[in-house]
Structure formats: C-alpha cells, structure tokens
Symmetry: C3
Subunit: 240 residues, 3 copies
C-alpha cells in the first residue's frame, strides 16, 4: 500500500469539526470493517467504489481508487465497473466518477489498453436463459415501454453483461452494491442470485452488507437484510 | 444546434478513464436514445433536466440546458421547471441547478421578463376537483401534520400547479420524471394520470421511461414500469 | 442572528435564473415555514441540517449551520449530529459536511473541547431493552450477516446511541429526518417512537414534516405521513 493510502484525505478537516468521527474513521472503518475476515480487501474495495459512485460521492473517491488498486483491483476492472454503474445507477454518476479519478489513473501511468475497451470480444451468451428473460420482460412491459424493453435486451443483456473486463461474479456484486446504495432493494434478488450462481459465497455476501453499512448508511443495509435472507432461504429450499 | 452542444463536456475525461463509456455516450445516448422517434427532443430535454436536477447532478447541466434551449424549450419553461423541482425534489436541488446554469442564461442574454415571474396571473382552478383533493388529504392527515396539509393546498395546489409558465402537461411530466429519479414510484400514478389527462400520450410516456433509464439508471425505471402499466390498464378499463 | 444569516447565500444566483424561486425562498421558506409556531427554530435547524447532510447538499450548509448556532444549537450538538448521520445516512455525507462547515466553526473560534468527544462517558444503557433488541435482530439476521448484527450492537446501540453530546430526543429526531430524506420510511416507526418516548410531542413531529417538505421535497414527506399516522394511532391505542 502506498503512503497516500494510509489515512483518508479529509481526516484533518473532519477532526476539526468532529473528533469522534475522525476517530471512528480510523477505529471502526479503516482498522475495523476493512480488516475483517470473510471478504477480501479487493472485494471490499469493489463494493465500496460501487456505493460511492452510485451515491455520486467523489471527494474521497481518488483515495478509494488508489486503495482499490493497492488491494489488487485492476484498472480495467474499475473502468468496467463504471460502465456497469452508468447503466445501473445513472449516467452522470459514472461521468462524475471518471472526472474524479482521471488523475489517479494518470499518476499511475495507466494506459488506454488497460481500460474498458470499446468493442471487446463478448462472453458467450446463454441463449436459452436470455430468450426466457427477454420474453418475460417483453410480455410484461412491451405495451408500456417498448423502448426500455428493447434497450434492456440490446444494451444490457446482449452487450453490457457479456463484457469480459469484469468477471460475472464481480459485475453482479457491483450491481448489488449499487442497488443497495440507491435504495432499490426489490431488484436485489435477481442480481444477488446471479452473484451467488457465479461464485460469491453466502458468507461473502453477508460481509458485503457489513462493509456497505458504513458507506450507504445502516438503514439501506437493513432494508436489504430481509431480501438477502429470503434469497438465501429460497436457495436452501431449492437445493433440497 | 450550436457547436457547444455537439459533445458532452466531460467526454474527454471519461475517455481517459473509460473508453467504453465515452463510446456509449455517443452511440447509445447522444446518437441513440436522443434520436429515437416517439418523443420530441424538446420533451426529452425536459425530462432529462428534471432527472439531473432531482439527482443534484450539475456537472453537465449547463450543456443539457444549452441543448434544451436548442431543442425548443423556452428559458421560462426551464426556469419554471426549477420552481416545480424545488417543491417536488427538495429546495437545494433547485438552488444548485440555478447556480449551475446562471452563466448559460447570461451568455444567451436571457432577460428577467423571460423567466419564472414572481406573481403571474394564475390558470383557472378546478374548484370542485381541488376541494375534493383537499378534503381527502385533510381527512387523512390533518391529525398528523396540519402544516403539511395547509401548505400543500396553499403553496402547491392553489399556486404552484396554476402557474402559467409551464403547461400542465409539462409540469406533470417534470414531476413524474422527478418522482422516478428520486425513487418515489408510489406517487407516480396521480401525476402520470394528470400528464395523460393533459395530453401526454401513452407512447410518449413509454419513451419518457426509455429516455430516463440512462439518466436515473435502469432499476429506477424498472420500479416505475409496473406503476405505469397499472395506470395504463386502469385508464383502458375506465374508458370502456 | 448575525448579518451573514439574513439571506441565503445563493439567492442572487437563484434570482437571475428563477425570480419566482428567489421570492419563494424568502416568502414561503425563510419568512414562512421557519417562522411557524409549534416547533422551535432550534429544532427546525436540527432537522434541516439532518436533511441537507443526508442529501449531501453542502452549498448552503455553512449558512444553515450559522443559522443553527444563532438559533441555539450548540456546536457540540451539530458535531454529534454528524456522527449520527455518518452511521445513518452514509459515511461520506458526514465527511462532506465536516469539510463544508469547518470554516464556520473556525470563524466562531469554536474549540475542540466543545465538539463531539472521542470517548465521552456514555449514558446508562437499558440493558433489558437492548438485550431484547439484540436478540430479535440476531435471530432474524445472524444467518445472513453476523457482521452487521455485531456492529449494530457494538457500534450503534452500545456506543453511538449512548453518546451524551446529543439528547436522546434530538438524536432520534436527527435520525427520523435522515430516514425521510433518504426515502427509508419503513425504518421510521422505531425511531419516531423513540423520539416520542423521549419527549417529542405529536404536534412537534407534525411540524418536523412541515419543515422537511421544503428540504426533502414534498413526495418524501407524503411517503412518511401514513407512517407517522400509524405510529400516532398505535400509541393512542396502547395508551387506552
């Protein structure tokens, strides 16, 4: 970890207004939840970045991106997460994030070929599964908004989700974190199931919530807890 | 369209962090959803501004306001939308937006008499409809918060909604877009019905969602889809 | 009240884009809701600050903090509210707020010993009540996220809620305002009941909503109204 990452950038400002918060930033956050077992530092960085971008909070984003790179996230994974978050949390969140972290990437000499490519070779599509998803959504909503239905197929499920720069498990993890941060708990089951199908463990998912509570606030995580619980129980029932 | 509007201002920054996002901004956004038929560029600008203001995203707001003016929105309509959004998305969102776009209005030489007037002659009130609305809300919530009930009548339904600077259809459209952006889908039916009563077509409403998906993120629009569907079906049933 | 507080800082900017909004800021906001009876100026400041911090809106926060101090809120109470809002609305909201108001505290010569202390002597804990709460949450969610369950006990209910720098009534009030601002209406009953148990009156709670409508937007308050109503009715039923 480089020296720039050893304390949060606003810690001195925080201390002059709120010594308790500065202390808790060190004790409960940096030396607390970040050092818990059960979820890698890399994964903690990934969900933390997803939360900050989704909440359009850019002040300490350069610090957290440096931290993420130190923790093993690749520049291309962070870059790819921004594409995902543009679609899932709103375009301008990703734009604001890109502006905020541009200097971090420049300072590290990160080159264009390390970033989210314009036209990568896409992952293989599960044609049967996608046909079923598209058919369901189409039946429900074609009469309401054919444009949303079409773009969901073309831009999301036949492109975005197949981009290779972020592993399917990680792409779902970024999405789940974003849904929690933006208070869209009802959309969590579909994406949490995808994350679990692609290798996230129940224990890791629980630690994702432990991590996110600090960055999204406790209530958004408590809204997600019963949703996670139901997904876990349904999967246990299905496994029998 | 003036030259300032041909690419988004942060595109170069975005490209240096995320080439895919820069590409998609051009292909899926500017040359994509913005050029779809079914909803005028003017209306796309109106709902896009409503989303950006409601999410307090001001970085590219000057660009989008220039774009909106090029697309035929009048300065007074944008100004009036800010009044609506102060009440419907929170005061400081409108304040932040006003600060952000001040220089755009100045550069175009827009004069005070083109803007949202302090005391315009109000539109005629549907006294019977308003009496019914006020009575319903009063019965429900006078015992909880008489102040909210009173201000809703005095400031909103006997003033704001009757201001002539934005047509009733457009005022409802701004409100619906803001509700979707702020995740208040349950309040959508009342305002969507008003928009449809005042001339918005079902096809246009569907395109509003297609447009908003990019700026609010897909999940917020998917939360609104079943609500729109129910409103459409209810109106179809009532029409029989 | 000092001269800096007699008009909102962005009023001139607002006027040049939206004269109606500038006028309403004076008539409906500063000379309107702020001067209503039923809730003290101090309490109006407290819930307004909670809303602004929770929405990460810092532009006029220095003005509102000066206003709050003029209205009788102590620096330590504002400082303590930030600790509460870090946990309840997301860490970076509190960080952004601290950075924004640092100069206000400095200009007033506020000293460290007036601020939220790192390790104050905590209020007495209701051991039986806390044991029941912890047991309920543990039974529900230990299998989902033991980390959230543990941190909720250790950091929130055996520390944060017992910090003496903000009276229990005020700490709950800040929390309720934050929940409304962030659209977490389902979590309101628990915290509203705590506020009422600790001395907030029904009339004051109704005025809190009247105040918040302007800063969170009307729809978020209308989402909270039925929740408040149910809490009031349940308490009336229990009192019989």
């Amino acid at each position: 970890m480089n020296t720039a990452s050893t304390q949060t950038p606003a810690l001195t400002n925080v201390e002059s207004v709120c010594p308790a918060l500065a202390h808790l930033t060190q004790s409960a956050l940096l030396d607390g939840v970040w050092k818990r077992p059960g979820l890698s530092m890399r994964d903690r960085s990934l969900v933390t970045l997803a939360a900050l971008v989704s909440l359009d909070q850019t002040r300490e984003l350069p610090y957290y991106v440096n931290h993420a790179l130190d923790n093993g996230l690749k520049p291309g994974e962070i870059s790819e997460a921004l594409v995902q978050l543009a679609f899932y949390s709103g375009w301008e969140n990703a734009v604001d994030a890109a502006v905020a972290i541009q200097s971090v990437f420049a300072a590290r000499g990160i080159k264009t070929d390390q970033l989210a490519a314009v036209s990568p070779k896409l992952l293989a599509l599960d044609e049967a599964g996608e046909a079923k998803r598209a058919s369901n959504v189409s039946q429900q909503f074609d009469a309401v908004s054919p444009g949303v239905v079409q773009n969901t197929t073309d831009l999301l499920f036949r492109d975005l989700w197949l981009r290779p720069g972020l592993a399917p498990r990680d792409r779902s993890l970024v999405t789940v974190a974003s849904l929690i941060a933006t208070g869209q708990a009802l959309a969590v089951p579909y994406h949490l199931n995808r994350a679990l199908d692609n290798g996230l463990t129940h224990a890791e998912a629980g630690e994702v919530l432990t991590q996110l509570a600090f960055y999204t606030g406790w209530p958004r995580v408590f809204s997600a807890l019963p949703v996670f619980k139901q997904v876990f129980e349904q999967r246990a029932a299905n496994a029998q």
